[in-house]
């Protein structure tokens, strides 16, 4: 492996960390560690200017409405409004945590979400690497375009097609199993198979779209690195592993961390559409449950729904902070 390439990889791995800055201690940027804070702020006012639009947006549309979270601790009614409804403290969270099927709901949600996260994480990366590696660029472009497309089919239609393909009587897939002399599993009704069907059909639908980010990141790899490595006799697999993977690793880690943060919100609409009494043991998740409860309540349960949402967010935050610090320790790259 060439030193050129090694430097590139190092740079990717450590750039984001204090030690990275120390490595460039001779540079004018690193020198600023001794500059007083006020001077530093003054010098980078232009950076703050660049950041300003995003900050204004986050303040207006994300933080201003956040006072609404307090309805998780109130009995919200439209007439009382957000600040005028009765304060009830942790009543709603308590009600959820002590409800009849809290534990099955929590474990169903977590298992499904982690399965989706773990299975869904490497596939787009592999797809992007493969698309990038194929020599027939024309072929690669067509495949990209096609694999990106399912992302635009609505969930209702995807589930409709899924049900049609997997129908035990008339579906093509069970027929194919039978032709091969195998007993087809009950894809849609077996509680165990529900998770596989859900997760893999999701990957099928989104992998192409998710690969876009990685394809963009791969453009930062200078072709010279590949050429140099080739001269050194590295095989393509080795080059992918040592050149391409490090190039997309920072983004991959960041995406992983972000996904962990929103792990509790599994695709509620799709789960709902795939639910039936036979797979309910594994398919009832927090979101579908809240939806059903809302539907069967004579009055919309804003406060209860918000409290459950808050509960979910707090779990997400804990997971995110944990994974972030783990990532920082292991790969020296994190979110913050």
């Amino acid at each position: 492996m060439s030193t050129d390439q090694q430097t590139f990889v190092d740079q990717l791995r450590v750039e984001d960390t204090p030690s990275g800055r120390r490595k460039h201690s001779a540079s004018p940027i690193a020198g600023q560690r001794t500059t007083p804070l006020s001077k530093k702020l003054k010098r980078s006012w232009q950076l703050y200017l660049l950041l300003l639009p995003a900050v204004i947006w986050v303040v207006l549309f994300a933080y201003w409405p956040m006072y609404g979270i307090q309805i998780a601790f109130r009995d919200f009614t439209p007439v009382g409004g957000i600040t005028g409804s009765d304060w009830v403290g942790l009543k709603h969270i308590e009600k959820f945590v002590t409800s009849y099927n809290f534990w099955p709901l929590l474990s169903n949600t977590l298992i499904l979400a982690f399965y989706e996260l773990i299975a869904g994480f490497p596939i787009p990366i592999i797809l992007a690497l493969a698309l990038n590696a194929v020599r027939q660029k024309y072929f690669s472009r067509i495949v990209q375009l096609i694999t990106y497309a399912p992302n635009f089919i609505s969930i209702v239609v995807v589930v409709g097609i899924l049900v049609m393909l997997l129908d035990p009587q008339m579906g093509i897939v069970p027929h194919a199993f039978e032709l091969l002399g195998l007993t087809p599993p009950a894809f849609l009704t077996d509680p165990g198979w529900f998770r596989h069907t859900y997760v893999w059909s999701g990957i099928w639908q989104t992998a192409g779209f998710s690969a876009i980010i990685y394809l963009a990141a791969l453009t930062s790899v200078p072709p010279e690195l590949h050429e140099a490595a080739k001269v050194d006799g590295a095989t393509h697999v080795r080059r992918m592993w040592h050149i391409d993977v490090p190039a997309i690793l920072p983004i991959a880690i960041v995406l992983m961390i972000l996904n962990v943060g929103s792990i509790m919100s599994v695709g509620f609409e799709k789960v709902l559409l795939m639910q039936n009494p036979l797979n309910l043991v594994t398919s009832q998740v927090i979101d579908t449950y809240v939806y059903e409860v809302g539907l069967k309540s004579p009055i919309p349960q804003y406060s209860y729904a918000t409290a459950i949402g808050l509960f979910r967010s707090v779990i997400g935050l804990i997971l995110l902070v944990t994974v972030n610090s783990l990532a920082k320790r292991v790969t020296k790259a994190g979110l913050f």
Partner: protein, 608 residues
């Protein structure tokens, strides 16, 4: 009126300003300043929803509603009922809206805002019925529209929570249920209508006279009526919840007639199984996962009176009837049918589309017996002119006698109408808006609301034309040309469709519809109807009860569905005491007793 403060900040209706107090008012000042600035900066059009302009003050509202002390029915009518139009043919036992000469009363000076559902084919601003209504009443209205269904409900919730109330809301059946209207009414979001109706709505009162239970059924537990009830009394709907169909082609194929008892049912199933004319991949008795409980309820009716899947009433006591041995016997029988292959295991997993696919098979329906509110449930391609359509091959199957001779079917005695029109405190002149609704309880407007222009979409019937119930018809529906789509409303507005009115429609031989089929189905089921005394009328729940009931209902339903799946697939055995006790015990831990108590309390509050 036109208080500038209120225009910008309408979130607290007048009667509640005291409660929400200082916080909100401080907020309104800050918001107003910001609003002014951002509008000036961005040059964005300042949108003040028309709904905010011209709010009613508490004083005028107090006068027209009579305040808390008003006794319903105590005020005298100040408006006369409109004179009848001569020459309309009513059958002798006709009870319902009559055609009347309506004179405009409004002067069009106020632009009322009325919320309505809509659908993508309509534009209420230019709609024929909207125009007709404006001409007939003289009331000028602008419509704030929301999509039909759940999306519309979400949007209305945002509008309500945001405090931008229109003057009136036509909430159809799926936006606000009676509990919501009662609770929001008590909170001051809607005004009580008793005095307004008593003084200004002769046509609504005429309906109340004809149907004496109606006013009481829709009155909130606090004794006030917060919404105008519309009547849509549908005869066939009363049995729709358990309506089950049988395949006539297959029956002919085996040379049998419809089974009258469960025993005959089983032998018909045996013959169906052996019948060589069955299409490939067909099943015997089926439904889909959403309607499976309805199918089971149909069969359970052969074991006990089951007016509702959860509760039955004896006198004024409500009871969860799953502890009844007859209920268990029914479940055991259903379990046996699954084991024998008479019931299709697909019942537990079919989606609505899969079920339709079974019905629309190219060689005729792929099932022998199935549930269906109407034919669309099992046939997306229903065609009433094509004898090979599943819609005609499947015919209603009457309830069958069980082993002990029990032969009943749920009959819904209570759902003949719904509250669907509410007036808010924002309304500057509630009298005009109640009269606007009142006029729509006249026959011509009620029909035009669904069919558009008289002479184009419908007309009065002539002597000798027969209605759905076989008597002299009152009116005839004319086939509407394609380019006249935007002429009617759906059933969102105030309307008065009594059973006589609905049955007064001419049966069209040339343009067959499903109505006559469903009418005959209802006739088939009515002799076995569960009595009114055993049914639980629709109950109005308060805030706390509503908060509890949603969760319990969700869990009870999924518990029952999962238990049925376990019995049906043989994972559990309903005839085994341990398994059955577990079913009962789990229902208890979910809160079946709380469920019963809440309904009992609500029943007592309304009927006590």
């Amino acid at each position: 009126m036109n208080d500038p403060d209120r225009t910008d900040h309408p979130s607290s209706p007048p009667s509640l300003v005291g409660d929400t107090g200082t916080d909100d008012r401080a907020g309104s000042v800050a918001r107003r300043t910001f609003l002014g600035r951002s509008a000036a900066l961005g040059g964005a059009a300042m949108i003040t929803p028309a709904a905010l302009v011209g709010c009613g003050s508490e004083d005028s509202a107090g006068q027209v509603t009579g305040g808390d002390d008003y006794t319903p029915g105590s005020a005298d009518l100040q408006v006369e009922i409109a004179p009848e139009i001569d020459g309309i043919l009513y059958p002798d036992d006709y009870v319902g809206p009559r055609a009347r000469e309506l004179e405009p009363f409004g002067d069009g000076t106020i632009d009322f805002t009325i919320l309505s559902q809509t659908d993508p084919e309509l534009d209420l601003a230019t709609n024929y019925y909207s125009t007709l209504l404006e001409q007939t009443t003289g009331v000028k209205a602008s419509y704030v529209t929301v999509p039909a269904g759940e999306d519309g409900k979400t949007k209305v919730n945002a509008i309500v929570a945001g405090g931008e109330l229109p003057h009136a809301l036509m909430v159809g059946q799926d936006i606000f249920n009676p509990s919501e209207i009662s609770i929001y009414g008590q909170q001051g979001l809607f005004i009580p209508l008793d005095k307004l109706i008593d003084e200004n709505a002769p046509h609504i009162l005429d309906m109340f006279d004809s149907f004496p239970n109606m006013r009481q059924q829709y009155t909130a537990p606090d004794g006030k009526l917060y919404g105008v009830p519309s009547m849509n009394d549908c005869y066939h709907c009363k049995s729709a919840n358990v309506r089950t169909w049988i395949n006539q082609d297959w029956l002919k194929g085996i040379g049998a007639s419809s089974p009258e008892t469960l025993e005959e049912y089983v032998s018909v199933m045996d013959e169906f199984r052996a019948f060589s004319g069955r299409p490939d991949a067909s099943v015997l008795t089926t439904a889909d996962a959403d309607t499976m409980l309805q199918l089971f309820q149909f069969f359970l009716g052969s074991f006990l009176e089951i007016p509702d899947l959860w509760l039955r009433r004896t006198g004024s006591t409500l009871e969860w009837h799953h502890r009844d041995p007859a209920f268990r016997a029914g479940i055991v029988w259903i379990q046996e049918q699954f084991a024998a292959g008479n019931f299709d295991p697909g019942i537990f997993s079919n989606t609505a589309e899969q079920y339709q696919k079974l019905g629309d098979g190219p060689d005729g329906p792929r099932f022998g017996v199935g549930y269906g509110y109407s034919t669309y449930q099992f046939s997306a391609a229903a065609d009433y002119t094509d004898p090979d359509s599943a819609a005609l091959i499947m015919t209603p199957l009457a309830p069958m006698a069980g082993p002990d001779g029990v032969r009943t079917a749920q009959w819904d005695h209570f759902s003949y109408g719904y509250l669907n029109y509410v007036i808010t405190p924002e309304c500057p002149d509630p009298v005009q808006l109640i009269r606007w609704a009142d006029y729509q309880f006249e026959l011509g407007l009620t029909i035009s609301g669904g069919r558009g222009e008289q002479g184009v979409g419908w007309d009065f019937a002539s002597e000798g034309q027969m209605g759905i119930d076989g008597q002299q018809a009152v009116y005839e529906v004319l086939p509407t040309p394609e380019d006249l789509k935007n002429t009617a409303w759906r059933e969102w507005g105030p309307l008065y469709k009594s059973m006589s009115q609905r049955h007064g429609e001419v049966v069209q031989e040339s343009n067959p519809s499903v109505e006559p089929i469903l009418f005959r189905a209802a006739e088939l089921y009515e002799p076995f109807a569960t009595p009114e005394e055993s049914g639980v009328p629709p109950l109005v729940l308060d805030m706390d009860q509503s908060a509890q009931i949603g969760e319990i209902t969700t869990n009870l339903e999924s518990h029952l569905k999962q238990a049925m799946a376990a019995f049906g697939t043989g994972a559990k055995d309903a005839s085994d005491d341990a398994d059955w006790d577990e079913y009962i015990a789990t229902a208890s831990s979910i809160g079946i007793d709380t469920y019963t108590e809440i309904h009992q309390a609500a029943y007592d509050a309304q009927n006590g």
